[in-house]
Amino acid sequence: MDEVPRIGDLQIDQDLAHQKRAWAVRRAGRAAMVLLVLAALAGLAGPGPLSEARAGDSGDPLALEYNRFTRRDAPAELRLRLNRPQGSEARVWLGSDYLEGAEIESVQPEPDRVEAGTDRTVFVFPLVEPGNATAVTFYLKPRQVGSLAGRVGLEGGPSLRFDQFVYP
């Protein structure tokens, strides 16, 4: 049994050195809490201003908007912009590596059909007005934690790389 020290008349386990350290830790901890909340507001812990990212220029045949930081099992989006697509249909592909780490919940507009390739999945969209810009959005849920690299492209056209980080 530890002997409980006496302070004046009181027999009490007070330790001012420890108390001072505890206050210092608490101050640091509170500062850390505030910083974390600010970082989350800025978008470092998920969608937010600092998380918004794009690949490809808006004038390119293919441009992508995505979130650098996402969270596991939380809804995420890949917004694709197709400029001057040629032919009667647009053939957009996503790399299979990415689709192993993220599950597609839905695609807007819905593809006419989906074709499985060796290292990619191709989504085929019929075009109402070939040559005019159009947009395709993938609604996904990341399933794996950590960095998640993806490739998206047009068949026979340009492709884009993008990197995301998925929080648990």
Binding site: D2, L10, I12, D13, A22, V25
Partner: protein, 152 residues
């Protein structure tokens, strides 16, 4: 494996948060604090279970939480350092009738809190009747009154 990790992460996170926000918060539970606790439990529940609502998952989580709780209370008993880290130490706020203002500031306790405890516990009327006031580990304030000395 996932359930155990989720349980441990939430347990440790809450432990750190509740330690950082200070001991006073545990004793003075207002109605709003109570509502806040309900919201916290609702929020953590979702992250704990994820999308797995199976009985196995539920059992594993409960086991994990209890095991951690038991483990920590065992460690607390064995090690003074762990006990201090997890529960803190009592702090004397009034010593022989003299207030330690710096300590009271740090713990966000003022004379009104001490008077409230003094009235509630000892039926005291004024600060000068208090000999010692101690902020206990659980966040309550204990009051030791001055002995009435028979004079004249």
């Amino acid at each position: 494996m996932d359930s155990v990790l989720r349980g441990a992460a939430v347990y440790l996170f809450l432990l750190v948060i509740f330690r950082l926000t200070g001991k006073r918060s545990l004793d003075q539970v207002t109605t709003f604090d109570f509502v806040l606790l309900l919201i916290i439990s609702e929020t953590t529940q979702q992250a704990l279970l994820g999308e797995d609502f199976s009985i196995t998952n539920c059992f594993l989580l409960v086991l994990t939480l209890f095991a951690l709780d038991q483990g920590f209370s065992y460690l607390k008993e064995r090690s003074r350092t762990v006990a201090r880290l997890m529960e803190g130490l009592p702090l004397v706020l009034f010593e022989n009738g003299k207030p330690h203002e710096d300590r009271m500031d740090k713990e966000a306790v003022d004379a009104k809190d001490i008077l409230e405890a003094a009235r509630g516990q000892q039926g005291l009327e004024r600060l000068d009747q208090i000999k010692h006031a101690v902020l206990e580990r659980h966040g309550g304030i204990s009051i030791i009154p001055k002995q009435e000395e028979a004079k004249g």
